[in-house]
């Protein structure tokens, strides 16, 4: 307590013709249990209402506030200032299109991802409201949910070496999405069909295995396991294709 925090914040407003990308320094007195949510809102309300950043749930469940905090992509709302040094450098997530200052366009990126991965259950079955639900093993339901916990914050994409080098790389969030449907017995897609989506260099074979995604994921998703799982599965599918099976 009693610290004066120094914030170095990236500023650039593309809608303002005179605006130049730059770093700006703010200072703020630290209070008990302060998070970057509390700090940034105070900066905006007390010092510069033009400051652009995103928060929504402020409880670590919606994924709005991904940003680079002292060099590491993370959710600002669940970052406590007491865990940081006195100087805090905030940058917008790379890879995504900048909206202004710390705000980036994850919305459009992820909607394109839904289309690319066809992020929905593929089934020929029709819903029949007169029938009881199809049964599912609870362990399978929990396995699906485990992968469904992704909040689409974009941190894994921003931290990904491949995504930084090539625009068309799907990234861990998208590959994890595919894995979510692979483990779901309701989805009737075959391995060959998944291969069409991710069996290439912008999919699972583009991953260089640096695994910053695993280190950085604010929801601690098992991304390393999923990438390994898909790589094996798609590798086998590729061999089968080669052998004409």
């Amino acid at each position: 307590m009693g610290r004066t925090l120094k914030f170095e914040i990236f500023r650039y407003n593309p809608e303002e013709s005179a605006s130049q990308p730059r770093m700006q320094t703010f200072t703020l007195d630290e209070t008990e249990n302060m998070t970057l949510f509390i700090a940034l809102n105070r900066l905006r309300e007390e010092q510069d209402p033009g400051l652009i950043f995103d928060f929504c749930c402020r409880a670590g469940i919606c994924g709005s506030c991904g940003m680079v905090v002292n060099g590491r992509p993370r959710l600002a709302c669940q970052t406590k200032t007491k865990d940081l040094p006195e100087t805090i450098t905030l940058l917008p997530l790379p890879v995504f299109k900048l909206i202004g200052d710390l705000s980036v366009d994850t919305g459009v990126w992820f909607r394109e991802m839904y289309q690319a991965t066809e992020s929905w259950i593929h089934t020929t079955k029709e819903f029949d409201h007169t029938k009881e639900e199809e049964r599912m093993d609870n362990a399978v339901a929990e396995q699906i949910y485990e992968l469904e916990r992704c909040v689409e914050c974009g941190c894994c994409i921003a931290a990904c070496g491949t995504a930084r080098m090539r625009d068309d790389f799907l990234g861990a969030a998208a590959l994890n999405r595919v894995a979510r449907f692979v483990v779901d017995p309701r989805d009737q897609r075959t391995d060959k069909e998944y291969f069409e989506i991710i069996g290439n260099d912008y999919g699972i074979f583009g991953c260089m295995g640096l695994l910053a995604c695993e280190d950085i994921c604010p929801k601690n998703l098992p991304l390393q396991n999923q990438l390994g799982f898909l790589r094996r599965k798609m590798g086998i599918t590729a061999i089968k294709k080669f052998l004409g099976k």
Partner: protein, 617 residues
């Protein structure tokens, strides 16, 4: 001017909005959904606990059916709900849960065999039948006779939101984020769409549609202490009320959740208590069973929040730098339960409090949580006053919650009401063609552009939007929270009237260009103060206590005079809402009675009037 035309415009892409959209898209209509955040970040995704539906698969849900669910809902509402609507909801909910399972929701399923559960800190055993294995299971929630809350771990809202948004992607529905509707385009009779501010560029756009549905959620952010996301600011309700012809139903019906954490007011789920967590006071002793011997920690939210406040007032609160609070204790549930079934709770405690819930107590206090109040609609979801305007979900007063909604009923309402109202909108679209008046559209765009230009040029005054907003939130905290009385409400209204006047004199500190937050805050502030005045005026006028509305000076529920619903209109140029009233329900399936919890006395309604409106099913 960018102008977009569609059959249906949905404002808000949370669960209710997207469910409405899906129904229209399935019927072949062209739909656009607008959201101020990417759809999956909607506040629906924050609901941890679950959705109530009388499926009755699990052992503790055996014998459940929509009648029991209906009765719990009516009791929970303190007989303030529309019973016709509550009945439609209870009957439809099980089908909707199954539909969601078909669409992809990974509901938790019945695991056969013996297992243990906690109630009031004690351990009990239950036996799940082998023949139910793999069917959708349920957990216990406050105010219910059976275990009825379908769930996916403690991320139900998130999981259903993912499935619904996937469905929208599959159907090719255009879901556009960072678009904020700032006014409705209407001629006093018919709604033609909305003027929308793009939150990427700050530019205005026009969305015209045969039907418009407002599904923007609640307005907890009118209060300082709320569990709601920062986007739950009432902007959708405000633009409806601003038309002058659309009323807000039961503005005074605001729910306070017993367990917001101190200091950040983030919600920890009712599932904690449902799963056997207890509330402790400064002496680390349980107290709920003293007030509520039957239900204890599992009484409905309004009752628990009230009892907690009472207990703190009696000097049993824990003092802290952020004011008094009580403790939530889930230590006895054990590591496995906490790290799987209550994982989000575990994370919240670690990330925001630095507390390990396995070994430490969680500081909690009642916090604003839910708005039963909303855009008043009929049972088809059509808003009163404007043809072609609909509302569903928390933004609406449909009205299945009356004066208190049960845990698990709101998340269920988003999809159940979304489906029902979505179908009604399809019927409306099938029978409707319309014309758009360019004069009306252009006048509204000019009016909105002038508001923005005036703000940027500083022509209105020099009031700081954040200061004025904070004063509005404080006024409601002080005068219109868990307990209410005439003196404090009068002060609250007087304060809010001063704030309303100042809200018209906002001047920007920043330049207002691009994705500017200050402009967005300033544009909606006036409408927010109108909503706040509605809450306070409605609360002052209602001289009784019902559900979440507790008048210290009128502690009885008065069925004789107040078995009705408030309608708050804001006529053009008014400085106070105009209050009207209508019957709470077209008929009674369950005539007014005792809830069985919460205590309090009831001033009986005239028995003949009740009998005349009571039907048998």
């Amino acid at each position: 001017m960018y102008t977009h035309t569609s059959d249906l415009l949905v404002i808000g892409a949370g669960l209710a909005g997207e469910r409405v959209a899906v129904e229209s898209a399935l019927a072949g209509f062209n739909v656009v959904c607008l959201s101020i955040v990417p759809a999956r970040r909607s506040h629906s995704s924050a609901a941890q606990g679950g959705m109530q539906a009388a499926i009755g698969n699990c052992a503790m849900g055996e014998g459940d059916n929509p009648d029991v669910h209906f009765m719990d809902t009516v009791k929970g509402s303190d007989w303030g709900c529309d019973q016709e609507v509550a009945r439609m909801f209870a009957d439809t909910a099980p089908i909707e849960m199954r539909r969601l399972a078909h669409w992809g929701v990974p509901w938790n399923r019945v695991v056969p065999g013996k297992s243990t559960y906690f109630k009031g800190g004690e351990k009990f055993e239950k036996f799940e039948k082998p023949e139910k294995e793999g069917l959708i299971t349920a957990r216990s929630f406050g105010g219910t006779a059976k275990w009825r809350t379908c769930y996916t771990s403690d991320g139900t809202g998130h999981a259903v939101m993912c499935t619904m948004d996937n469905k929208c992607a599959e159907l090719g529905i255009s879901v556009l984020d960072r678009k904020e509707a700032i006014s409705l385009i209407h001629d006093g009779e018919k709604c033609m769409g909305a003027v929308v501010r793009c939150l990427r560029t700050g530019k205005l756009e026009v969305y015209l549609a045969k039907a418009t549905a407002i599904c923007t959620g609640g307005y907890g952010r009118l209060y300082t202490a709320t569990t709601n996301a920062v986007i739950c600011d009432g902007a959708g309700n405000a633009i409806a009320q601003e038309t002058g012809v659309v009323p807000i139903g039961n503005p005074e019906a605001i729910q306070f959740h017993p367990t917001g954490i101190v200091p950040t007011d983030i919600l920890v789920t009712e599932g904690c208590r449902g799963d056997g967590g207890t509330l402790l006071d400064v002496n680390e002793e349980r107290f709920m069973h003293i007030y509520e011997p039957e239900k204890a920690e599992l009484a409905s939210r309004d009752v628990v929040a009230r009892r907690m406040t009472e207990h703190m007032r009696a000097g049993h609160g824990v003092k802290s730098a952020y004011g008094e609070h009580l403790w939530l204790d889930i230590r006895h549930l054990g590591d496995k339960h906490i790290s799987t079934k209550l994982r989000e709770v575990d994370e919240i405690c670690k990330n925001f409090l630095g507390v390990d819930a396995r070994t430490q107590l969680i500081p909690v206090r009642p916090t604003q949580h839910y708005t039963m109040s909303g855009i008043r609609t009929d049972k088809t979801g059509a808003a009163y006053g404007l043809k072609g305007l609909y509302s569903a979900g928390e933004s609406a007063c449909w009205d299945m919650h009356g004066f208190n909604r049960l845990g698990g009923n709101s998340l269920a309402e988003t999809v159940v009401a979304g489906g029902i109202i979505g179908k009604c909108i399809v019927e409306y679209l099938q029978g409707t063609e319309t014309t758009y008046s360019t004069a009306v559209v252009n006048a509204e765009v000019r009016r909105q552009q002038r508001r923005i230009d005036d703000l940027i040029a500083g022509r209105l005054g020099k009031e700081n939007v954040y200061k004025v907003r904070a004063e509005m939130q404080e006024a409601l905290m002080t005068g219109c929270f868990v307990f209410r009385n005439e003196k404090d409400l009068l002060t609250c209204i007087e304060t809010l009237q001063g704030i309303y006047e100042r809200s018209g004199r906002i001047g920007l500190v920043s330049n207002g260009l691009g994705a500017n937050h200050e402009v967005a805050a300033a544009l909606k502030l006036r409408g927010q103060v109108r909503l706040a005045l509605g809450i306070a005026a409605g609360a002052l006028a209602r001289k009784e206590s019902r559900g979440s509305h507790n008048r210290e000076d009128f502690p009885a529920r008065d069925d004789k005079n107040w078995l009705n619903r408030t309608l708050a209109y804001w006529p053009e140029n008014a400085d106070m809402p105009m209050l009207k009233y209508e019957d709470a329900t077209p008929h009674f399936e369950i005539p007014p009675g005792d809830r069985g919890y919460g205590g309090g006395t009831i001033i009986q309604a005239d028995p003949e009037t009740i009998a005349a409106k009571t039907i048998k099913r």
